[in-house]
Symmetry: C2
Subunit: 240 residues, 2 copies
DNA sequence: ATTGGCGTTGCAATCTTAGCGACATTATGG
DNA sequence: CCATAATGTCGCTAAGATTGCAACGCCAAT
């Protein structure tokens, strides 16, 4: 995330990739006007970007003219997965964490949401945990909070300005206080299910990287320290 | 792969994604001029596209100003992996194939090369086989031949015009004959190591999709039929 | 020193893109 | 069954983003 743009940043590429990502995280086929509303773009522009992605095979039109992932998405997945060596680096480490009998997760931050590379409750085989979950609001996820805390206050304020924030009925000030607490601790601990007393503990993989590891389940306070230590250790081994 | 472009295809997006893919499959950091030669683009253009990708975090500049995958590549991997449900669909099926004691692979075609989503020799754990191998020439790979055979002769001729073809010293006519043989059979069988008598057998996952499954190792003729049947069965189950 | 490569950028001409408006099509609701 | 509103799509022209030459500074090898 280079903060300053270059001489002539290519806006078409920026918006095109934003469109591609919005398409990828959409749980079901979407039309261009809906996607345009999500992205704040002109519908005509989104339509043309989607049609270009369709021409490349990355998008595909369904029977009712909406857009979904196309076969080219496989190619992109293969290439980006290999280029970001994250799976090869992380999977052996994640496998070891499973002995805790908790849900293990590896996720990345995208805008105000978390995409999961891996998410497996106890009992599920490791291979089944891959690419299973698409998007969750960052503010209600341990991984999301751990990653948000790495960004500056201004960036967070911009992301969540003037709207309801998932998990924080009090709005932005509440979120900011929680973020500050995460920064102090060096890890995130959030309650994901008050009735069953389930928590998530998460630590970022490396400074200013997009990824974080987390464990989720019944984690009483006295178990917190060893779990944080195991996660920190895992995060360093995944490294980068 | 929509054969006809739309009203106003966005060339910046097309070239930008080509640049992104070329960056992703590059085994080591590359500079803009080298990438430009690979892609047949203007170096200035590639430089600006790379800088835009760097601004997005997808690319990153090394100390000597070359470009590599950046942290944003993790995000792209997570999103495209989830959107293309291929891993979730394929991994359980691939896991079953491993009982044959051969190398199991799942790959996609990109231009004249194969990117592997999964590639595991016997003995390797399933999770270790994920995203391990980047690129191999399509013409020397069973999966590559199976996928190439799905394209038209003109497309293949265009890909391999006026250059040496890996695995086919005789050039294009030899390749075309081999492709035609694959089409007749409905699967690819190629010799990948003459001295150890190792072969690869591969079948496409679904018509005109980019993916194919393959098995590799010592496969004598009399074992061919059951392996082809197992692969065909697997391909249908992976489906799409 | 010199040469040739590299990444990078300024600049002006150019050609792509933006977005209105229009069209056909498809729900949705009287 | 007709309104009404929403959708996907495209032609058109002004507006402006992009192109690529040329040039710069840098580095490595000669």
């Amino acid at each position: 995330m280079n903060p300053k743009p270059n001489a002539q940043p290519n806006q078409s590429l920026i918006d095109g990739i934003a469109t591609l990502q919005a398409l990828a995280v959409s749980p079901e086929p979407v039309g261009n006007r809906e996607l345009a509303r999500q992205l704040g773009f002109n519908p005509t522009r989104v339509n043309r970007l989607l049609k270009t992605l369709a021409y490349l095979g990355i998008a595909r039109q369904t029977a009712n003219r909406k857009y979904t992932a196309g076969p080219g998405m496989h190619v992109l997945a293969a290439q980006s997965l290999h280029a970001s060596r994250i799976m090869q680096d992380a999977l052996p480490v994640l496998e070891e964490l499973r002995r805790f009998g908790l849900t293990i997760a590896l996720g990345v931050l995208w805008r105000d949401s978390v995409s999961y590379l891996f998410h497996a409750p106890p009992g599920m085989t490791t291979t089944q945990g891959i690419g299973r979950i698409g998007l969750l609001p960052a503010t209600s996820s341990g991984i999301g909070m751990a990653l948000l805390a790495q960004h500056g206050d201004d960036h967070i304020a911009e992301l969540f300005a003037d709207r309801a924030i998932d998990g924080f009925p009090g709005g932005l000030p509440d979120l900011m206080a929680a973020i500050e607490a995460v920064r102090q601790l060096g890890y995130a601990r959030v309650c994901v299910d008050p009735v069953e007393d389930r928590h998530t503990v998460a630590v970022p993989v490396s400074n200013l990287s997009f990824a974080a590891v987390g464990m989720s389940g019944w984690i009483p306070e006295q178990n917190n320290a060893p779990i944080v230590e195991a996660l920190t250790n895992a995060a360093h081994r995944i490294g980068d």
